[in-house]
C-alpha cells in the first residue's frame, strides 16, 4: 500500500468512526516508517476535517462527531510516543470551559473537539469553572485563547467578569477571549469587550485561525 493510500484509509476510518480501522492503519503507517506527525496531519486530521464538513452540511450530528473524535484519539494515542519533540513550537494554545454556575457542556465539548482536530493544544477546564481559574490556567500555559461557553442567561455575566478581571490584572492584551452559547450574541460580545463570538463550533475554529494569522502578521510588522 503506498503512502497516500494509507493516509486515505486512516482518514476514512475517522470519517466512518471505526476506531479499529484507524488504529490498524496508523500502526501500518508507523511500520512503513512514516513520520508520526505526518500521519496525524495527513491522515487523522484530514479525516476530522471531512467530519466537520459533514457536520456543517447537516449530514453528521453530535453523536457522529463525538464517535469520530474517539476514533481519532485512539489513533493519536498510538502515535503520540513516536512524535518528535520539536514539532510543538508554533502550537496554538486554548483554555476552554463552561463559566461558573452552568453545567451545560455539549457546546463546549464540540468546540474542544474542533480545536483539537485543527491541531490546537486544548486545556479543558470542564464545567462550572470559577472566573479566575480560566485566567490562572491561561497564564500558566501561556495560552493564545480563552474560550468561554454558557447556555444560561444567568451566567452570561461571568463572561464579562473574565474580561474585567483580565483588565484588572493587566493581562487583557495577552489573550483573545472567545465566547459562545445559546443566549450569547455578537452584540453581547461587543458590549462586554470580548474578542470574538461564533454561533457554532466550526466557525469558532475558523475565526480563531483568522485571528492567529492576523496576530502573526502584526507581530511580523512590529519587528520590521
Amino acid at each position: 500500500m503506498d503512502t497516500k493510500e494509507l493516509y486515505e484509509k486512516i482518514a476514512e476510518g475517522v470519517v466512518e468512526m471505526e476506531e479499529d480501522t484507524v488504529v490498524e492503519y496508523c500502526q501500518k503507517a508507523l511500520d512503513e516508517g512514516l513520520d508520526a506527525a505526518d500521519i496525524i496531519r495527513e491522515g487523522l486530521i484530514k479525516g476530522m476535517d471531512e467530519v466537520s464538513r459533514l457536520y456543517e452540511t447537516g449530514e453528521y450530528f453530535l453523536p457522529e462527531v463525538l464517535t469520530a473524535s474517539y476514533a481519532l484519539n485512539e489513533g493519536v494515542n498510538l502515535l503520540k510516543p513516536h512524535l518528535k519533540k520539536e514539532v510543538a513550537t508554533t502550537l496554538v494554545k486554548v483554555v476552554i470551559g463552561v463559566v461558573e454556575g452552568d453545567t451545560h457542556d455539549i457546546g463546549k465539548n464540540l468546540v474542544k473537539i474542533m480545536c483539537e482536530s485543527a491541531g490546537f493544544e486544548v486545556y479543558d477546564m470542564g464545567r462550572d469553572v470559577p472566573i479566575d481559574d480560566f485566567i490562572d490556567k491561561a497564564v500558566e500555559v501561556d495560552a493564545d485563547f480563552i474560550c468561554l461557553s454558557t447556555l444560561m442567561t444567568t451566567t452570561m455575566q461571568g463572561m464579562k467578569d473574565v474580561v474585567e478581571h483580565l483588565k484588572e490584572r493587566g493581562l487583557r492584551d495577552r489573550f483573545k477571549v472567545m465566547i459562545g452559547g445559546g443566549p450569547v450574541s455578537q452584540k453581547f460580545c461587543d458590549e462586554i469587550g470580548a474578542d470574538g463570538y461564533s454561533a457554532d463550533a466550526a466557525s469558532c475554529v475558523r475565526k480563531m485561525k483568522e485571528m492567529m494569522a492576523e496576530k502573526a502578521w502584526n507581530s511580523r510588522n512590529q519587528k520590521r
Binding site: 453528521y60 450530528f61 453530535l62 453523536p63 457522529e64 463525538l66 464517535t67 453545567t103 465539548n109 444567568t154
Partner: protein
C-alpha cells in the same frame, strides 16, 4: 369559560374564547427571583416542602403570571429519586445535579427505582393534591423530565452519545428502565389530581441527535412514556417540549403521540405546520425577550404568536430567573388583549 375548560377545549379542538396562556413549570420554569422576593419565599423550601411548593405555585398564579399552576420547579426531582446528588440552589439559581452517577455506559444496568412515598418525589405528589383541592377549575401541571435528559444527567452526555452508535442495546435498556420509572411517577401525578403532564426533554433535541437517533432513542421512549401514562389516565393531557433547533427532525417529531407539542423560539410555526398539520402546538414567546426586553415588546411577540396561529401561548423555554415580573405578566395580558378573535368558531 374557566382555564381548565379552555385548555381541554383547545386539546379537543372545540370552540373556545381565546388561546390559553400557560407555563408548565419543571424545566419550563416560571418562577423568578422578583416573584420569590415579592412573596417572601425561600426557593429552596419550595423544592422540598409540599405546602410551600403548592403555595408558591398558587402565588405565581394569583400574581397573574400564567393560567395554570404547576410543580415541581426544577428538573431534578426524578433524578434525586434515582440516586443523584442535587444542589438545590438559592433564590437566583435553580437546582442542578452535582455529579454523574455513572462513568461508563456499561454501569447503567442498575437504575435505582423511584420510591413514591419519600423525599421530594412525595412532596411533588402532595403539592399536586393540595393545589387540586384548592382549585378545581385551574389546570394543575405535573412536570416530568424526559428519558434522554434523565439519561444524560445520570451519565455524562459524551459517553452516552458515543454509545448510541456503538452500544445501542445498552442505551435502549437504560432508557427503557428510566421510562418505566417516569411512567410510575407520571401516573402517580395524575392520581394526585394533575390535569396536565408536561414532559420536557431538552437533551433529546434533534439538533444534537440528528433524525436517525432522534427517532430511535427519543421518539420511541417519549411515546412509551405518553402511552404508559395514558393507559390508566386517558383524560390527562400530555404535552411534550423539546428544546433547540428542531427543524431537521420535525417529520420525526410528528410521530410523537402527545396531545400537544411545545417548541423553542428558534423553530418557526410555518415550518412546524408543514410537518405537523394536525398537532396542537404550544409556544413560543422568546425567553430572552422576556428577560431582556420590555413589556410592550413581550406583548408584541405574544401577539405575533397568536396571529401566526399558535394554539397554546407559552414561553419558548424555561424563564431565566432574572426576568422582570412585569415582562412575565405581559405574556398573559398580551394573550388576553390580542387573543379574542383567533380561535376555532
Amino acid at each position: 369559560m374557566n382555564s381548565l375548560e379552555r385548555i381541554r377545549a383547545t386539546i379537543k379542538k372545540e370552540e373556545h374564547d381565546r388561546p390559553i396562556c400557560i407555563c408548565p413549570g419543571g424545566m419550563m420554569n416560571y418562577i423568578t427571583t422578583e416573584l420569590l422576593e415579592k412573596g417572601g419565599f425561600n426557593f429552596r423550601d419550595a423544592h422540598v416542602d409540599a405546602k410551600t411548593m403548592a403555595d408558591l405555585s398558587e402565588y405565581a398564579w394569583k400574581e397573574g403570571c400564567f393560567e395554570n399552576m404547576g410543580v415541581p420547579f426544577c428538573m431534578t426531582v426524578e433524578l434525586e429519586g434515582m440516586g443523584s446528588k442535587i444542589d438545590l440552589g438559592d433564590n437566583k439559581r435553580e437546582p442542578r445535579v452535582v455529579e454523574y452517577i455513572y462513568k461508563k455506559i456499561e454501569e447503567t444496568t442498575d437504575v435505582k427505582r423511584i420510591d413514591l412515598s419519600e423525599g421530594r418525589v412525595f412532596a411533588v405528589l402532595k403539592a399536586i393534591s393540595i393545589l387540586k383541592e384548592r382549585h378545581s377549575d385551574v389546570p394543575v401541571v405535573g412536570n416530568l423530565t424526559g428519558p434522554v435528559s434523565i439519561a444524560t444527567s445520570l451519565i455524562d452526555s459524551t459517553p452516552f452519545y458515543v454509545a448510541l452508535r456503538k452500544k445501542g442495546d445498552i442505551c435502549h435498556e437504560f432508557l427503557r428502565k428510566i421510562t418505566d420509572e417516569l411512567i410510575k411517577f407520571g401516573s402517580a401525578m395524575a392520581d394526585s389530581g394533575a390535569d396536565v403532564i408536561m414532559i420536557a426533554d431538552p437533551s433529546a433535541t434533534g439538533e444534537i441527535l440528528g433524525p436517525k437517533y432522534f427517532k430511535e432513542f427519543a421518539v420511541k421512549y417519549l411515546n412509551d412514556l405518553v402511552e404508559g401514562i395514558k393507559k390508566n389516565h386517558p383524560d390527562v393531557i400530555v404535552i411534550v417540549h423539546i428544546c433547540g433547533q428542531m427543524t431537521p427532525v420535525l417529520a420525526e417529531a410528528n410521530e410523537i403521540n402527545s396531545d400537544a407539542f411545545s417548541f423553542d423560539a428558534i423553530v418557526g410555526l410555518k415550518d412546524i405546520r408543514k410537518n405537523m398539520q394536525d398537532k396542537i402546538i404550544m409556544g413560543n414567546v422568546s425567553t430572552y425577550a422576556i428577560e431582556g426586553q420590555d413589556e410592550e415588546k413581550v406583548k408584541q411577540m405574544t401577539k405575533l404568536c397568536i396571529t401566526q396561529g399558535m394554539d397554546i401561548i407559552s414561553p419558548a423555554c424555561g424563564l431565566g430567573m432574572g426576568s422582570p415580573l412585569k415582562n412575565v405578566q405581559a405574556v398573559l395580558t398580551g394573550t388576553k388583549e390580542y387573543g379574542g378573535e383567533s380561535c376555532l368558531k
